[in-house]
């Protein structure tokens, strides 16, 4: 079994002409690149740093808007896609729709929206929104379907309306998971948005691709380092938030959910 997988990897590598020899030959070039970058990093100007920070802020804003809007649009759709809330006639088509939104990677959505609204951050936001919608809705309806049947049964046999059931049982029972999804998605989207600039959809990726094109690798790497630092910080914050609100309440230890 493992042998077969190894053989498959080798065969596929040969097919796309990926050779370890070339990689080894490339290594000295990497060293050369590092040296070059180190030299250039010492020449980073205030202006460049300003550009980097501003572009990173734009990226975060895009990710934030896309995540929030996508998440908010996903929630009602995922309620309609849950088997324990909606009838078959509703959840089957809804799931189909969400699966379609999920099929395209965000960069493809970006290309599509650039055609529609022209290049720039707006196209990027739309792309992130669509991608988030498809992706997070699946996480949401899976959590909603995992809500314990007993509170649902006892509440629905009191005669609650569907909306009351959602407000008083579904949302509180799945709140910690839903919040977890939001944090996860934002975190993920900051990284996604950083590359959308590659196709001209705004954000810091634009600088990276431009400097790379003009062979100014040092400057490109500087911008990459800014992305790296930001992602680390956001990751750290979201771990803290997750600890505070998600993990504890799932364990049943004191935590106040909003």
């Amino acid at each position: 079994m493992i042998g077969a997988v190894v053989a498959l990897v080798i065969a596929a590598s040969w097919h796309i002409e990926a050779s370890p020899v070339e990689f080894a030959e490339g290594l000295p070039r990497l060293w050369q690149l590092i040296e070059e970058v180190m030299v250039e990093l010492t020449t980073v100007t205030d202006n460049m740093a300003y550009n980097a920070v501003w572009a990173m802020l734009e990226t975060i804003q895009m990710a934030f808007i896309g995540t929030m809007v996508g998440y908010a649009l996903a929630l009602p759709m995922s309620l309609l896609a849950s088997r324990n809330l909606a009838s078959r006639w509703v959840y089957v088509p809804m799931r189909g729709l969400l699966a379609m939104a999920r099929t395209l990677p965000s960069i493809m959505w970006a290309l599509l929206f650039i055609i529609m609204v022209g290049p720039g951050p707006f196209a990027g936001i739309l792309a992130i929104t669509m991608y988030t919608l498809g992706f997070v809705a699946k996480l949401q309806y899976e959590s909603i379907e995992a809500v314990d049947a007993d509170p649902m049964d006892s509440a629905s046999s009191i005669g609650l309306s569907r909306l009351q059931l959602i407000r008083f049982v579904v949302i509180p029972e799945s709140a910690s998971h839903l919040l977890g999804h939001l944090l996860y998605m934002f975190d993920y989207n900051v990284r996604q948005t950083s590359i959308l600039g590659l196709v001209g959809a705004g954000g810091i990726g634009f600088y990276i691709i431009t400097y790379t094109k003009y062979l100014q690798y040092g400057k490109a790497v500087f911008f990459m380092l800014v992305v790296l630092a930001t992602v680390l910080v956001i990751d750290w914050i979201s771990v803290k938030l997750r600890d505070r609100y998600v993990v504890k309440s799932q364990r049943g230890v004191a935590a106040d959910m909003p």
């Binding site: 007993d150 609650l160 407000r167 049982v169």
Partner: protein
Amino acid sequence: MSYHASIQSETHDIDKAEPDSCIICMEDVWASYDARSTTIREINMRVSAGSNYAIVGKSGSGKSTLLKIMNGLMIPNRGTIMVDSHRPDQHNRRFQSAMARIGYIPQSLGLVRNSSVLDNVMIGALPRMGALQSLLKRYSEEDMAEARRILEMVGLSGKESRKAYMLSGGEKRRVAIARAFMQNPRILLADEIVSELDSVTSRDIMDLVAVMQRDTGLTAIMIHHDMSLALEYADRVAVMQEGRKIMEMGIDHDHVHILDFQSGNLTTQEILEMYDDSQK
């Protein structure tokens, strides 16, 4: 719009009730979860309004399933059942209007873990609230006063904002009872709400139901794990075995009479032993 006004007229003395009047009537009811096995067989049951009707039986004998049938969560595949003059079915429009006043406490209580005690209790009042008010959690003064009165009655005053998962087992059961009482119920279906509690707490909880029955004429159908509580509090006790009701007893405080005896696999000896055990 308090309980007390409307109640006096309702009879809660089973002996005075007409022999034919039943708030829950089952005739030859059969039910199954799947095609291969039958869980409930040939059940005939008449529960008089205002009575306390206990159901006992071994684990797996179909007690909880019987309650789900009364509640319309499960539809029998044979026979007829009427609850408060409606055919119980959660999708039946007519039954839906009755549901608001049928309290159902499943074996696991069915509380919303992450919600406060107050929000859990208010679930019982939601059907009579306006749609928008309820979604915004704008509870009316009347409902708040009622909730406070009930929480006081079940001994949970001061714990309104506690999350349900932080409560003890006995407290959780009181919340479930308070939620049912908040419905201003005509019928209470309670699945083993006093099992695995110490006898003082169990009696406290049984007394709450008894008080509610006396004050409002509530009909209670309660599943019990041990026979002694059933004999102490119920007017009638049905014994289930393998999906059948094998015996029904009428209790009038001094003695137990066997009203209906359908031969199950239990021998007379075993039934007597069960009764004896419960007397200890």
